[in-house]
Symmetry: C2
Subunit: 410 residues, 2 copies
């Protein structure tokens, strides 16, 4: 008998019918002999309804009272799901974050979990009950209700799985797993049955929005095996593991991530002097702008070109602050391009395989796609290309690494 933590998001519990479907799913695991702890979000739309009420009173919402308010959303769901489970003959008991108790710091609306008391949950599990816990919420040391911020239910589930040393933390979503790339772009993208944490982090930060990046990091830190599954379909989803699987040959590349939300900024003719790069990025960071890919090539004649990408929304602000330091740094020219896209091949397998970059660049060359920037890490190769070639680039790289459904059965 193993202990499983299952998390169902707002869409999965968005109506009474869906809550009943979740209850049936949970009961099946219980009937199979597992101990089950279920973490749920508020019914979809409920959190926004509550925030709407608060904003009618004051758009500058009081953080402590905001948490008291929105935490009622999950509290409604835990009671309804527990009722639905009992109606199916599956004994269950609900817990709010405070009841568990999920101890957090006092940073209202973005609190961090510090400690989870597993005492009451274990007692219920030992009596054969399913335990239903309100995600997204906790309580600080003074008894004030706190929330973890949007998406915090994933974090709640992972933290509970870590505290209970669960065999697996299953995150039910509206997709049936992690894909080799976005199926809307590549029709025969394939669901991965396994992916490593490192790969998942690279995929997630590149815009594969299956899991909250914070919960993946949390799961990695506490070594909780995560599984992404569909709430609405049967299937085993994708397991996110720590260890690279030694029993089978790893594919060189596990997935292709991409992102079209970035713009490129180039400072041409930057004097080759110590401290220049730090001055440029320090100025940008001071304006609260996040920088993604950064490239500086070797210089010529005592000067070089320095390029980096920022979110398109931050482009104007970035250009403005850079204009301010341009002459001070002796930069010849400041240019930008907001019609670029980023494509990355991700895979732990590339650590031990040579020629991965060559395969990727050849796939692009075959389609006559020019590479504007290149950046590599141990398990990822990123290129910046013109946005109009994005779909073509993703499809050809996806095929080049044998990721298409028909070409490879994992």
């Amino acid at each position: 008998m193993s202990l499983i933590v299952q998390k169902f998001g707002g869409t999965s519990v968005g109506s009474i019918e869906r809550i009943q479907a979740v209850a049936a799913k949970v009961k099946k695991f219980r009937d199979d002999g597992h101990q089950v702890v279920v973490v749920v979000s508020a019914m979809s739309g409920e959190t926004n309804r509550l925030i709407g009420l608060a904003e009618e009173i004051n758009p500058a919402i009081d953080p402590r009272e905001y948490d008291v308010l929105v935490s009622t959303g999950e509290q409604v769901t835990i009671s309804l799901l527990s009722m639905a489970l009992k109606t199916l003959g599956c004994d269950a008991r609900s817990y709010t974050g405070a009841q568990v108790r999920v101890l957090t710091d006092s940073a209202h609306s973005k609190a961090r979990i510090q400690e989870i008391d597993d005492h009451r949950i274990r007692a219920d599990l030992d009596q054969g009950r399913v335990v239903v816990v309100a995600g997204f919420q906790g309580v600080d040391v003074e008894g004030n209700i706190t929330t973890l911020g949007r998406g915090g239910s994933d974090t709640s589930a992972v933290a509970l799985a870590a505290a209970l040393k669960a065999e697996e933390c299953q995150i039910y979503t509206d997709v049936d797993g992690v894909y080799t790339t976005d199926p809307r772009v590549v029709e025969n993208a394939r669901r991965l049955s396994k992916i490593t944490f490192e790969e998942m982090l690279e995929m997630a930060s590149q815009g594969s929005k299956v899991l909250q990046i914070r919960s993946v990091e949390f799961a990695g830190k506490y070594r909780v095996p995560l599984r992404v599954l569909s709430s609405f379909e049967e299937g085993e989803g994708t397991l996110i593991t720590f260890e690279e699987d030694e029993t089978m040959e790893n594919p060189v590349v596990s997935g292709i991530a991409f992102n079209r939300d970035e713009a490129k900024i180039t400072l041409a003719g930057v004097p080759d002097q110590p401290g220049t790069a730090s001055k440029i990025l320090g100025t940008v960071a001071a304006a609260n702008i996040e920088v993604d890919v950064i490239i500086q090539n070797v210089g010529h004649d005592g000067a070089s070109d320095f390029s980096f990408t920022v979110h398109k929304n931050d482009l104007d602000k970035a250009l403005k602050v850079l204009e301010g330091i341009k002459s001070e740094l002796g930069v010849r020219e400041l240019t930008f391009d907001n019609t670029i896209a980023k494509v990355a091949a991700v895979g732990v397998g590339m650590r031990s395989h040579a020629g991965v970059a060559a395969t990727m660049f050849k796939a692009l060359a075959d389609e006559n796609i020019n590479i504007e920037m290149i950046s590599t890490s141990e398990i990822k190769i990123t290129v910046i290309i013109a946005e109009k070639y994005l779909e073509l680039a993703v499809r050809s790289i996806h095929a080049a690494f044998g990721l298409d459904e028909k070409l490879q059965q994992k």
Copy 2:
């Protein structure tokens, strides 16, 4: 500086606008230098909405999870009211029943308050904050959420007032106080500025549905002065006191209560033997039927007539069980009348005044209204009359005791 507990019901907090109006009212008391603890119900309609969700899952609602569910209603209100107060520049902090902590027994959905911890509330009051507490809810010794049952917010307010030794517990409702009788029947019924607890209990049980009878009993037990006021209008409402006011002449009669929901049952020719009355009432009580007025007059020829009233809804059931013991008891005849009404004059003043009954009976005689039954207690005289004379009887008695607006200024 005095400490006041104010309770606002569901209608008073039924919309954001009304919550803002409550905040303004509360702030005025705070600005006048009072310490204020506010107890609120769920926004009107919210509790029914939540119960509706639960009933979609299972009409036989699980009591523990029911309490988890419905307690969110008040939690929403406390956060919104606290936000509204802060927006007006009045520092405030919300507490759920569990946070206070309002310790109850474990009888879910009809729990009884056992103890209130005033520690956190006092700390906030001392820092100049208004404290906003969720009514209707508490927590048992094991940390399970409990509710007190419908109308429980009044009880929460009174219990808090008792625990905090508040100067006054103000119950805001949709009426502006307790009246000498129902203004829908007697146009010039008068609002009482004061009424004693005993009178209030007699009035309330007779159908003046201003306050939950349970909260009045609770207030009496812990000697908490209660004040009934309007949420929507200005005014000092009605103060419910323990002590009969010695400084002014008490009116003989404070109010006229009435009830048209009862039916009369008569057992004629009941043998004058010990145990007969107990046999009759025991049989009725065993069928879970509540009996109100009971009359037995002196007998003739070894037999007497025994009459009592029950709620009209219970009439058929009562007749059926009595039919079963009629011959066993040697009762001659079993009759009923479901076209009666009950009218009562209530007043602590009648303790020291003779002739109150005479005044009441004369008022009825002047209108040619026949009295079918009479029952008296220390502070109440009750008569049963034909239902069709009810309004006429109430008006004439109201006038006879000088209760009409124009005749008496209190």
